[in-house]
């Protein structure tokens, strides 16, 4: 009797998601080799409604026994995941929680508010009251709001001025252009919170172009891109740290889900991964040179 496990996540359209896809594929190979009776089916979808359709297909066609799902968005996928659960499958939810509690058997996630908070804490160690920062946000989504709100809450009362914040959509090009405009607009910027390593790449390019990358100016991104981690290891000062939001969480979720069939102990529960601050000291342990991210 084969154990069929569906794995559903958004189609990678940026590097972080590509890293996740890579980790998922690695885990599939590893787990299928380890357990011949386990069949993992990876499906990715370009939008929430396609993901809902993909979930329907996993049930009606593949008759899965368990589902590992990284929902595109929480709200729209709550009902479709509930339908999968009603078909009798075990549910593992990754990263973005569903909007109705109690559907998932296992929950594996990074920590978005924590990411914002950790970034702010680091900012405060480097800045003084009266210093100016600008923020480049992601795509307008819940994740972005959580990170941003936690960051702002932590900065509260520090005396650091947030000059403005614009959406750069977790995209290098937008990061570059928004930063160019910030630089034209504000003559004095001391630091940039770019929230994401892709945006940070654009920001750094804009800073270098304008020649404003000296004077202790620094940029904080986030997620844990391998190039960023490498440059932190090399002691780069413009992007001195990174805040982890590991794409490998999907692999963790697949491991745990398979374990729930294979283990003789209970595996249900919540696994929350930390938002570690990556510094030159600890960078080496987060560096995966083969991953696309």
């Amino acid at each position: 009797e084969n154990i069929k496990i569906g794995v559903s996540y958004p189609t990678p359209t940026h590097a972080w998601a590509a890293g996740m896809n890579w980790h998922a594929e690695q885990a599939e190979k590893r787990l299928e080799a380890l357990y011949p009776d386990v069949d993992l089916i990876l499906v990715n979808s370009p939008d929430p409604s396609a993901q809902a359709s993909a979930l329907e297909d996993l049930v009606s066609v593949h008759k899965i026994d368990a589902l590992v799902v990284l929902p595109f968005e929480s709200e729209p996928l709550t009902d479709p995941v509930l339908n999968v659960k009603n078909s009798g499958a075990r549910i593992t939810v990754v990263d973005r929680g569903l909007s109705q509690p109690g559907i998932e058997d296992i929950y594996v996630a990074g920590n978005n508010p924590e990411m914002g908070r950790v970034s702010a804490v680091y900012m405060k160690t480097r800045l003084e009251s009266g210093d100016n920062i600008v923020i480049l946000r992601g795509i307008p989504t819940l994740i972005d709001n959580e990170r941003f709100d936690a960051f702002m809450a932590e900065m509260e009362g520090s005396g650091v001025n947030v000059l403005d914040h614009k959406h750069a959509n977790w995209n290098r090009d937008d990061g570059f252009e928004v930063m160019q405009d910030f630089l034209s607009r504000f003559p004095d910027i001391d630091a940039v919170w770019a929230q994401d390593d892709d945006i940070a790449i654009g920001v750094v390019a804009a800073l270098k172009q304008a020649g404003r990358d000296g004077d202790g100016m620094f940029v904080v991104g986030g997620a844990g891109m391998k190039e960023t981690i490498k440059s932190i290891m090399d002691g780069e000062t413009l992007v001195p740290v990174d805040v982890l939001y590991p794409p490998s969480m999907i692999a963790t979720a697949m491991d745990v889900t398979v374990a729930s069939f294979k283990s003789n102990g209970p595996v249900a529960g919540r696994y929350i991964l930390g938002a570690t601050l990556i510094t030159p000291e600890n960078a080496a342990s987060f560096y995966f040179p083969d991953s696309p991210f």
Binding site: T11, P12, N21, I41, L42, V43, N44, D47, P48, S49, A50, A52, S53, A54, E56, D57, L58, S60, V61, H62, F72, E73, S74, E75, P76, L77, T78, D79, P80, S99, Q100, I139, P140, T141, L142, D144, N145
Partner: protein, 339 residues
């Protein structure tokens, strides 16, 4: 070369007529065979029902788009319009639940608002193109951006979700069925039949075709060109609102990513079905088949892991081109006619 084209055209007239009618149908049947060969579960009742239900959204919107395109227009705003309407519906229903309770009244209020909004949005597109004399492409590109950003604004960048209490009442509109067919499929059938009748059997349909074929002739033939064109956008808006009414109970939410690229899918369905993009020639039946073809392609790609997930788009692109190429004999003719 024209020599050949002409003679083959002359001779093939009867034949190409058949290909034209059958083209999209053949493409769909081929796809179903491929699907079955890849995985026999493709033809299971459950999957076919899923497929039909899914086609309903794009299909209903594409019926409206058939009118707009037949009359020589284009509407790029439908996807964002759907998202914005869904958002407003949810806000209204959520706030109505306090006064009206989570029952039928609230759901009907939401649906009513959806229809009013859809008609209104279509009317605005129509008036801007006709009275404002701005190209439809620009008008609807503009309203596309406006609606998309409005829904983001309403949702504060996140997701608007329907009150759980209302969901219970509203759920059957998507998940329920009647005589073995899901409700969305029934709505799709009704919209398709009405659309077919309107386009092929009424004066209004003739007027759309005439305007798309030659606006000056239409004007000299006592057709109120501006009014008819505006009406096509209103019909499009109404179709979008109907699609939204059956979409909202499916996922119970709306966000800035709702309905992204639906406009391209709807237009693609219309063109795959044999309607001419420059106007003057519309086929509702073809549009329905076009919508089914598009949904089936996505469905089949979910059925196999032969192809790298990343290449889904390549397969989709190839299949769309091939599906239309299957009826190219007809295309040559249709195009020559429009000139």
């Amino acid at each position: 070369m024209t020599v050949l084209a002409n003679s083959s055209l002359g001779k093939g007239k009867r034949m190409s007529f058949d290909i034209k009618t059958a083209g999209p149908a053949i493409a769909l049947i081929l796809l179903c065979i491929i699907g079955f060969l890849l995985n026999p579960a493709f033809l299971s009742e459950g999957n076919l029902t899923n497929l039909l239900t899914r086609s309903a959204f794009i299909g209903i919107i594409a019926v409206g788009a058939t009118f707009v395109i037949t009359a020589g227009g284009i509407d790029l705003s439908v996807g964002s319009m759907a998202a914005a309407i869904a958002g407003v519906m949810i806000i209204i229903m959520n706030s109505a639940v306090e006064t009206l309770g989570p029952g039928l009244a609230t759901v009907l209020l939401g649906c009513g608002c959806s229809i009013v909004l859809g008609i209104g949005a279509g009317w605005i597109n129509g008036m801007l193109t006709t009275k404002g004399k701005i190209e439809a492409f620009i008008v609807t590109l503009g309203t596309m951006g406006i609606y998309r950003s409005l829904v983001t604004y309403f949702a504060d960048g996140g997701t608007l979700s329907l009150d759980f209490a209302i969901r219970g009442t509203y759920r059957p509109v998507y998940y329920g069925s009647f005589l073995g067919l899901p409700i969305p499929v029934w709505v799709f059938i009704v919209v398709a039949v009405l659309g077919w009748f309107l386009l092929n059997r009424t004066a209004f349909g003739r007027y759309c075709t005439a305007i798309g074929s030659n606006e000056a002739v239409a004007k000299y033939s006592a057709i109120k060109v501006d009014r008819v064109k505006t009406m096509t956008y209103v019909i499009q808006g109404l179709c979008v609102s109907l699609a939204t009414i059956i979409y909202v109970p499916r996922l119970g939410s709306a966000s800035s990513s709702t309905g992204v690229l639906w406009e391209l899918e709807a237009i693609a369905a219309v063109i795959i079905g044999g309607t001419v993009l420059k106007g003057g020639y519309g086929r509702i039946g073809g549009t329905i088949l076009g919508a089914l073809i598009l949904t089936t392609i996505g469905n089949i790609l979910n059925f196999t892991d032969l192809i790298s997930n990343y290449l889904n788009g390549t397969m989709q692109g190839l299949i769309i081109i091939i599906a239309v190429w299957l009826q190219r004999g007809d295309w040559g003719k249709a195009k020559a006619k429009t000139n």
